[in-house]
Structures are given as structure tokens and as C-alpha cells.
């Protein structure tokens, strides 16, 4: 018997499932928010036509791909193969992804702790982070959203917040 054992790395199915579901829902919510929220719409308009970005975990996913086609923002699923991706936001590990997406660490804190790799233009990546922050404010209650974003937008009117939330949730669930 060899004194060196071969050990196959295990799996983390629960964390993987959580991250995959979160990314799937957030991807659809970005598509919805681009139609409901003026600020998100404006951010996307500043991005080039056919702009595509992905967010996910290294080394083996899951991923979320969102793109702009003919002026319309679309969630393009979890596989970017066959599409040129202009900005790739890669979280270094599934565990780091779980920390961020379960709101134990905000995006800014995770960036400061070197958990994210940005592959692409920094201004575009910053626009994506701003969009993600707005979407998280719509999707999450204030208590949780405050943990996820750098600064909770207390200046939003109730009409924008609650009206937008209904719109984003409805469109996300219906996929429109």
C-alpha cells in the first residue's frame, strides 16, 4: 500500500444549490428591474449594445449570464458558452459565493477581502455592481438588504420602493 493516499475532493451540494437558485432568481430580477426601474434602465443604456456580463463562482460555477440585445435586457441562463462576455465577475470559491449571497458579507466587503476577480472593463463592472445593489434593495427586506449593499437608499420614495418591488417580483416570477 502506498504511503500517499489519493483523495477525491468532495461536493457541496447544498451550498451549490443555494447559490444556483439565488443567481437564477437574481438574473431574472435584473431583467425585470431593467423594465421597472428608471435608474437600472439608464445604467444599461450606458452600456454598449450586445453587452453581456456573467457573475458566478470559480472553478466550476454556478453562473448567471445577463445580456443586452437590441436594447432589451435579458437573463440568458447559467451558461455563457458560445457568447462573448464583456465582463466576468468571478467569485473565487463556492464558499465565498455563499458568504456573499447569503449576506454574511456585502459585495464591497467581499471585494475588499479579495474574494472577487473582475475580468473586463472596471467602469462596466462598477455599473453592474450598482445595478445589483438596486435589484437587491427591491428583492430583500431592509434589514437584509442593508447587509448586502454598501449604503441603503433611504432617500427612495415609498412609491418607488414598494411599487417597484411589486413590479420586479411580478415580472421575475412570470419571467417577463
Amino acid at each position: 500500500m502506498s504511503i500517499i493516499k489519493d483523495v477525491q475532493s468532495g461536493r457541496k451540494p447544498l451550498k451549490r444549490a443555494y447559490v444556483a437558485i439565488f443567481l437564477w432568481f437574481t438574473g431574472r430580477a435584473i431583467q425585470a428591474a431593467a423594465k421597472v426601474d428608471r435608474e437600472v434602465k439608464k445604467e444599461f443604456e450606458k452600456l454598449p449594445e450586445n453587452f453581456t456580463f456573467s457573475l458566478g463562482c470559480l472553478p466550476d460555477g454556478p453562473w448567471m449570464v445577463v445580456g443586452r440585445e437590441k436594447g432589451v435586457v435579458k437573463y440568458l441562463g447559467g451558461d455563457s458558452r458560445g457568447r462573448p462576455v464583456q465582463v466576468r465577475l468571478a467569485i473565487k470559491s463556492l464558499d465565498a459565493g455563499f458568504l456573499i449571497l447569503s449576506f454574511q458579507e456585502s459585495t464591497t466587503l467581499a471585494t475588499a477581502r479579495n474574494r472577487l476577480i473582475t475580468d473586463g472593463e472596471i467602469p462596466y463592472a462598477l455599473a453592474i455592481i450598482r445595478i445589483l445593489d438596486i435589484v437587491e434593495v427591491y428583492l430583500l427586506p431592509k434589514l437584509i438588504a442593508s447587509l448586502a449593499v454598501k449604503r441603503y437608499p433611504s432617500w427612495w420614495t415609498p412609491a418607488r420602493k414598494f411599487g417597484g418591488r411589486i413590479g420586479v417580483y411580478a415580472r421575475t416570477l412570470l419571467g417577463i
Partner: protein
């Protein structure tokens, strides 16, 4: 700051420290072009939980790792040769040393033997120059580290291998592995780091890069070691001590081998006493002599030890004495927490007279031999200050 007109500094070690730092390993290894790493561990020293934690960090990476957890204090070049043959056969392309001390030394020498494809590792000689970049080495520091993990040295079979290429490419410091078994293990890590950092900091040849590392290492020890020793479960303090050990190794690699390091190394090699325990014993003696001789810049120690305010308030000519007094007070505080666990003398450490003679014989072969033998004689009975 005075600095020499010409100096060199090399530190190829990247550091990943903090919560879930281990989980970055698959990505970091990919960045080093490694897909088939071998983990080298002393399972008895670090415990099975540490091995499990490391292995679980690779979850979902799809990698297959080799695991050798049989490193012991008796591991020698013969074992390294056997491992080398298996590594060449299985084509391992990186090494991960889990834990400090012997595991890191074995991983470094194994890396040397595998990278150079040495026909017989038992014939490796420290004098032979290493002119080739070796395979990537990652050091995952755990409780019991001594700071030499991040250095360019490897000590095996009473031989000291030294090369820039022996230093790890990456050091990973994760709070889950920082928790020590007891206070004395933590104290040994901190004192080894303190001893090497102090010697690097006051070394005669000035080097601002090295001082940046040694300054931070001394301050980390000063601010965190007491808390970490009093409560080994304090993850924040324990991680800070591991960080200081890592920084002291980087500083030490760029300084001449100091007297405290030599003392610690000889006692560890021959008797297995943790280096930090011996270095803590010898620190007041060696620095007391340095103060009298006026050979070293002891004043430079005052700022990292006392803080910026006290440094600014103390006149420059009083800083050497103040630094030494502060260091002695720090060691006393440490002893008051640990009691008899931290020996003041070789007698309290249980070193029998005949083993002391053996130590003196080995030290006699060193260029600092006469001085170091004198220090050992004074350490035997716990003399704190030279009389007269």
C-alpha cells in the same frame, strides 16, 4: 530612517489570510499552473480536524489530491527519497505543507528533490546551489508554526538547506487552523516570531523592506500574543500571531542568521524543545548583552513594542533601555499567564546536564560558538542579567 546605500530584499511569498482563506486554494493553485497537488502533513501535530478542513476546502473543485500525513520528528532524507519516487511516478505538480515545523521542512526538501529529479534524495547537499525554479509550494500555517515556514530555509536531517527557491509561493493563514492546543503552543509560536523579528529588526545591515516586515511582526506579537495565550480559542488573536510568524519568516530570510535563531534551532533539532520556548529564555540575555556592547540598534525596537505615542514621548537616548525593559515586562506578563508552563531556565525545561553538554558541543562549532555557549550556561540556571 538610516538605510544602507545598497541592499537587496526578496520575498516571493504571497499571503492569503483571513476567514475562508483556505477556500481560495483551488483558484490560487490554478494560477500557479498546478492541478495535481500533494498535501504533506504531520497529522499527529495538527490533528485530523485540520486535515479534514483542508480537504473540504477543495470541495467542488473536481481535483484529486495526494495526501501524505505521516510526517514525524524522525522523518529524514530516506523518507523524502521514497516520497520523491512516488511523486515522480504520480506526476504531482505542487506541494501543500499543512502545519509548521517538520511538515514544511519535509515539503520544501521534497519539492527540491522532485523538481531537480535528484536520483537519490539522501545525497542532497545543502552546499549544492539551486539554480532552477522549483514546483509551486503552498504553506498552510497551523497552530505550532514557528515562522520558518515562509522562510527560504529548510532544516532536515540536521542539514540546513537555503535557497530563494525554497520559499513558498503562497502562505495561507486561516483562523480555523490557528487555534492552538494550549497556551504554551501559542506562546512558542509567538516567541519564535518575536525572536526572529527582533533580530532582523536590529540587525547591523539596514534594510527598509525587511524592517517593514519585522516591525509589523513585532507589533502583532506585542498586541495579540497575551490574548491568544490567555484564550487559545480567540481566533482573531491567534490569526494575528500566525500572521506575525509568517512575516517574521520573510524578514528573517533577508537577514543574517541571528544568535537567538541559532539557539532555538539547536535545541529543537537535538531535544525537540519548541524554538520559541528557548528563544523566549534567551531573548533578555542576548538583548541585554547587545545593549552593553552597543552593537545593535536596540532603539529601533521601542516603536513597534511601545506604540507611536510612547515612542514620541521618549527621548532618543533612553529608547534602547526602555525597549529592553518593555520586552522584559512583556515576557513577565506572559509568564504570569502561563506560570510554570513557560520555563525560565533549562532546568525548568527539563534539560538534563549531559544533554546540555551535547548542545554546547554543537554550538562550539558555530562562528558565534563561544558567545552562545556562555548564553546556554547562563540559561541553565535562569540568570536574567549578567552579574557585575
Amino acid at each position: 530612517m538610516n538605510s544602507a546605500a545598497v541592499f537587496a530584499f526578496t520575498c516571493p511569498v504571497k499571503t492569503n489570510s483571513g476567514n475562508k482563506a483556505l477556500e481560495n486554494l483551488p483558484v490560487e493553485l490554478a494560477g500557479l499552473n498546478a492541478v495535481n497537488p500533494l498535501v504533506v502533513a504531520n497529522a499527529r501535530a495538527v490533528g485530523p480536524k485540520a486535515v479534514r478542513t483542508l480537504m473540504s476546502a477543495f470541495g467542488d473543485s473536481g481535483m484529486t489530491l495526494g495526501l501524505f500525513e505521516g510526517v514525524t520528528e524522525a522523518t529524514d532524507l530516506g523518507v523524502v527519497d521514497h516520497l520523491k519516487n512516488i511523486c515522480l511516478e504520480k506526476k504531482y505538480d505542487a506541494f501543500i505543507a499543512l502545519g509548521g515545523g517538520k511538515a514544511a521542512d519535509v515539503a520544501k526538501v521534497l519539492n527540491l528533490a522532485v523538481s531537480l529529479k535528484t536520483p537519490d534524495a539522501r545525497r542532497l547537499l545543502p552546499e549544492a546551489p539551486v539554480r532552477k525554479r522549483l514546483l509551486p509550494l503552498v504553506v498552510v500555517a497551523a497552530a505550532g508554526a514557528d515562522g520558518l515556514e515562509t522562510s527560504q530555509l529548510a532544516c532536515l536531517s540536521r542539514m540546513v538547506f537555503s535557497s530563494e527557491w525554497l520559499a513558498p509561493a503562497l502562505a495561507v493563514l486561516d483562523p480555523r487552523l490557528a487555534r492552538a492546543k494550549n497556551g504554551i503552543q501559542m506562546a512558542a509560536t509567538g516567541l519564535a516570531a518575536l525572536g526572529r523579528a527582533v533580530e532582523s529588526h536590529i540587525s547591523a545591515d539596514q534594510n527598509p523592506f525587511r524592517k517593514a516586515y519585522s516591525f509589523a511582526a513585532i507589533r502583532f506579537v506585542r498586541e495579540n500574543l497575551l490574548s491568544a495565550v490567555a484564550d487559545p480559542g480567540n481566533r482573531k488573536a491567534a490569526l494575528a500571531v500566525l500572521n506575525s510568524a509568517a512575516m517574521s519568516g520573510c524578514a528573517f530570510s533577508n537577514a543574517a542568521s541571528g544568535r537567538l535563531h541559532k539557539l532555538g534551532q539547536v535545541f529543537y533539532d537535538l531535544l525537540g524543545i519548541p524554538q520559541g520556548v528557548i528563544m523566549g529564555m534567551g531573548l533578555p540575555l542576548v538583548l541585554g548583552d547587545a545593549l552593553r556592547e552597543g552593537r545593535y540598534d536596540l532603539a529601533a525596537l521601542f516603536q513597534p513594542l511601545a506604540g507611536d505615542d510612547a515612542f514620541a514621548q521618549t527621548p532618543a537616548e533612553k529608547r534602547p533601555e526602555a525597549a529592553l525593559a518593555m520586552l522584559n515586562r512583556f515576557l513577565e506578563d506572559l509568564r504570569s499567564v502561563l506560570g510554570k508552563e513557560l520555563p525560565k531556565s533549562l532546568r525548568e525545561a527539563g534539560v538534563p546536564g549531559y544533554r546540555k553538554e551535547e548542545i554546547l558541543d554543537v554550538l562550539g562549532q558555530d562562528e558565534d560558538g563561544p558567545y552562545l555557549r556562555g548564553v546556554v550556561e547562563r540559561m541553565a540556571d535562569g540568570e536574567r542579567e549578567r552579574k557585575g
